[in-house]
């Protein structure tokens, strides 16, 4: 409760939270706000913003840009959250095993992690999506695969720090199962930095998805912000609104998530939190 109170007093964190909640509400209410399919050609092509029935204008096929942004918010958030959960599962598992057992196991786990860290994440994501095909499940998988290494390293460091503490050793001496020790004794104490890093990973997942869609590697059946910018790129001189609004949407969402992440960091970190 005190954490929540502390967060509510965090100014930039609150701004981020408000923006983020707006995006979430937009995503949730998209089917009611814009009942038509966002791919539908509802008006004349290249209508500027504030045209009749088209607040943010229309694209080259006469599709509503506002509807695209609202429906795109769903895709961006879904991909951001699920792919981050995927990378959390992979990263925390590997980090926890490496940090808890140490020694040879740690060696092997960390070499694998390094292997992934040395390949540039975005390039690997492009490669994966291009190979297994641009479908939403594959995109989530690819983003998850490229973003787990930092989480694994962080979890490992936390586990190594806590592994030698008395309360952990006490639990081990009592003969508790390693799984119980890991999940009930160590993890709860290591969770704060993982949550913070995870929240920032959502932002980078959204960026990776946008970049993939921009390059034409998005799911062709789903409207997404990156796709909208990619399609607008060629006509930017005729129709600035086609790229500016989805661009703003990405900017605001990613910024908001970062602000929330920083706010969480400040409130969950007892040293900073207590100073307030």
């Amino acid at each position: 409760m005190s954490t929540l109170k502390s967060f509510l007093r965090h100014p930039t964190g609150m701004i981020g939270l408000i923006v983020l909640l707006t995006v979430v509400i937009l995503a949730v209410t998209a089917p009611w706000l814009f009942p038509d399919d966002p791919w539908d050609m509802v008006g004349a092509p290249f209508q500027p913003p504030l045209s009749e029935g088209l607040w943010l204008g229309s694209d080259m096929l006469g599709r509503d840009v506002a509807a695209g942004i609202a429906h795109g918010a769903r895709i961006s958030l879904i991909i951001g959250v699920i792919s981050t959960l995927t990378s959390l599962v992979i990263g925390v598992t590997i980090g926890a095993i490496a940090g808890y057992f140490g020694g040879k196991v740690d060696e092997v786990m960390m070499r694998i992690t390094e292997l992934f860290q040395t390949i540039p994440g975005f390039i690997l994501a492009i490669l994966l999506v291009a190979t297994i095909g641009p479908k939403i499940s594959n995109i989530i998988f690819a983003i998850g695969i490229v973003s787990w290494p930092p989480l694994a390293r962080l979890t490992r460091a936390e586990f190594m720090r806590l592994r030698g503490r008395e309360f952990v050793q006490a639990a081990v001496c009592q003969g508790q199962h390693p799984l119980t020790v890991v999940l009930r004794r160590i993890l709860p104490n290591a969770i704060s930095p993982i949550i913070v890093t995870g929240s920032l990973a959502v932002a980078s997942a959204i960026l990776i998805e946008s970049a993939l869609s921009f390059m034409g590697l998005g799911d062709p059946n789903l409207m997404s912000w990156g796709f909208m910018i990619g399609a607008a790129r060629t006509v930017i001189r005729q129709a600035w609104w086609m790229s500016v609004f989805p661009g703003l949407a990405i900017l605001l969402t990613v910024l908001a998530i970062n602000l929330v992440g920083e706010g969480l960091n400040d409130t969950l970190n007892p040293r900073i939190s207590r100073k307030r």
Partner: protein
Amino acid sequence: MNRREFAKLLGLSATALSGIPLGVTRAVGQTKGGTLNTIIQPEPPILVTALNQQQPTLTLGGKIYESLLRYGSDLKPLPGLAESWTVSPDGLVYTFKLFPGITFHDGKPLTSEDVVFSVTKVLVETHARARGTFLRIDKAEAPDPLTVVFTLKAPFAPFLNSFDCTTAPIVPKHIYDGTDFRKNPANAQAIGSGPFKLKEWVKGSHVHLVKHEGYYRKGEPHLDEIIYRVIPDGASRAVALEQGKVQLTQWTDVELFDVARLSKLPNVEMTTKGYEFFAPHFWLEFNLRVKPMDDKRFRQAVMFAVDRKALLQRVFFNLGKVATGPVSSKTRFYEKDVKQYDYSLDKAKALLDEMGLKPGADGKRVTIKFLVPPYGEIWQRSAEYFKQSLGRVGIDLQLENLDLAGWAERTSNWNYEMTCNLLYQFGDPALGVSRSYITANIRKGILFSNIAGYSNPEVDRLFEEAAVATSDAKRQELYTAVQKIVVEEVPIAWMVEQDFPNFIDKRLKNVITTGIGVHETFGAVTLG
């Protein structure tokens, strides 16, 4: 104007002035000399058109290699290397008379021996499209240095349409005879008989062509040199044109979305002429082996459900025409009096209802996978357009993006449900049209064959008879009949006859004079 351009202008006026006392340039009202700067993209791998038929190779190689004939925008033959020609009444014997005094770039004369060698030895081995035609030759003879006689095994009407510079470039026998054509070291020098010869090719930068002094057409070429610049980035190409650094663009040098804007430039003219020989036809491809696409009513419904005029305007930036059937209206033997598919969602729904394809609770009648070919913008937008259009009548398209190799592999092996495609017509229905409809061309693994799997014995017969008929009137009659049947059955949903823009500096004259357009020799081009 910067200093270099000013200097160039000085240079040009100096040549013009020096021309006056001789009374040459002014007398014929044309300016001699000058440099044409243009674009080549992507950079071709080789310049020998007999060995490689990719678009940039053909565009550039057309200046270096010439063939026996040229074709007007009506696709009727005009003299090329051949001054005159005759066809025997039975359609079997073709006799060509060459112009006297033709020489290759290395100074050796071009004779009928070179023609026979190029057609019967080189092209049948290296050029898939030419091979189909030239394998029909029974005997090729060179009775004297200026006469070539081809005797066919059976009449083949489009034979006379196969001697343009992209199909039948003439290569020197004295260089290629008895060698491995593809590995011949002379390929780097690209020795042809065209009005321009290769001076220098700086990979990644430019190809520099200069005047062939011994060119057989007196007074040609007018230009001193042509420089093809490699500019891979679309925006940079547009800037080069805007700044006058290049005086000519072709094919997709200027991207379609930029055409309207650049057409307003004061110093250039835009024309879509000169692609009649290729006549690119864009269409929706069905796999007729898959239900419900085996039913003609379904395919007709698709034709009714897509607003092709809007597709042309919104996706193709109005560069083209709505296609009405298998034969392009730009080519010969086109028949416009066929069944018309105006945009009508009601007609489409009625046909689908009649088939028994009723909409389910979610409004969908059927779900079909659509492969999006990875050729860029237009293809992606078209796919989205088809998805929305067909969605309105309850046909749910699921788009699937693939890379080029994947798309080619899936479609050519019939592992698809629907896709779209673009095919050239090559000046004659027997060369570029029938291949997509005749049973004999249902060949697994071959990309531009009859991949839909359409088969109709009557259509086969008409196409076959039209290919061997010797009079144009008879051919028209047969092609009219076949077009009526095919348009009724819609094995392919024809969408757009695509146009490509040429931007031409207003000082340039005689650039687009034939149906081959920018692939022509450019011997007659002047820079005024």
